[in-house]
Amino acid sequence: MGKNFKAILIGLLGGLAGGLVGIGGGIIMVPLMVYSLDFSQHSAHATSLAAIVPISVISASIYSFYGNMELNLAALFAIGGIVGAYLGSALMPHVKANILQRMLAIVVIAASIRMGLDL
């Protein structure tokens, strides 16, 4: 299978997942790029981020078409997100990332079980 064809397939899967659950699709694309296209983690991340832009634009348009877009909410998220990302990177050297990550992982898994089982 050619590299470009694989790239189309990876994009397709990332787009499907991203559009379906409202995430960028990187969680699907990055590992696939590393395993099947011999990308380094770093460059897979950078390249997938660029592909996330058109995926998000097209998906957001569809949500908007169905009347599910609240632009005010999206704008507030975006503004808060950018401010938070700066704060987070500044804090990064001062925290034990692996411990925090593990704590968050447990919260995320618990929340997903709660959501999935409707508890």
Binding site: S56, L76, S112
Partner: protein, 143 residues
Amino acid sequence: MMIMLAILTGVSTGILSGMLGIGGGAIMVVMAIALLNVSQHVAQAAALTAIIPTALTGVYKHHRNGLVNWQLVLYMSIGGVIGGLAGSYWANIMDEAILRKVFSIFFALIGVKLLISSYKKDTKKQGNSSRNDNHSTDVQNAE
């Protein structure tokens, strides 16, 4: 009040993603539902839109470091746009309760991935210098 909570959601998601190198989209969805009482569909739409400026900033930075393979971006985008159309059409015709369950599966996946990478960081620390550790956090700043 609503505005404050929305900004707070964005800021705390941003802090987590900046600090831990995880994508904020999914956490934003969960927090929006819990704090702001919006529907699953509206939360997903807002997260998808909020990702765009953050991703663009990241791409600009990575492009300057020569890390973006633009030819593959083109091909991935072709697939991505088709997939994105299909996936979001599917989500929008789906019943909210079912969509929430589908979302929770992906959210669990993110949790497991976080757990695994937190252990990878441990091993790296033991085997190598802490310089590598910083690098891997940056690397995982995907999704």
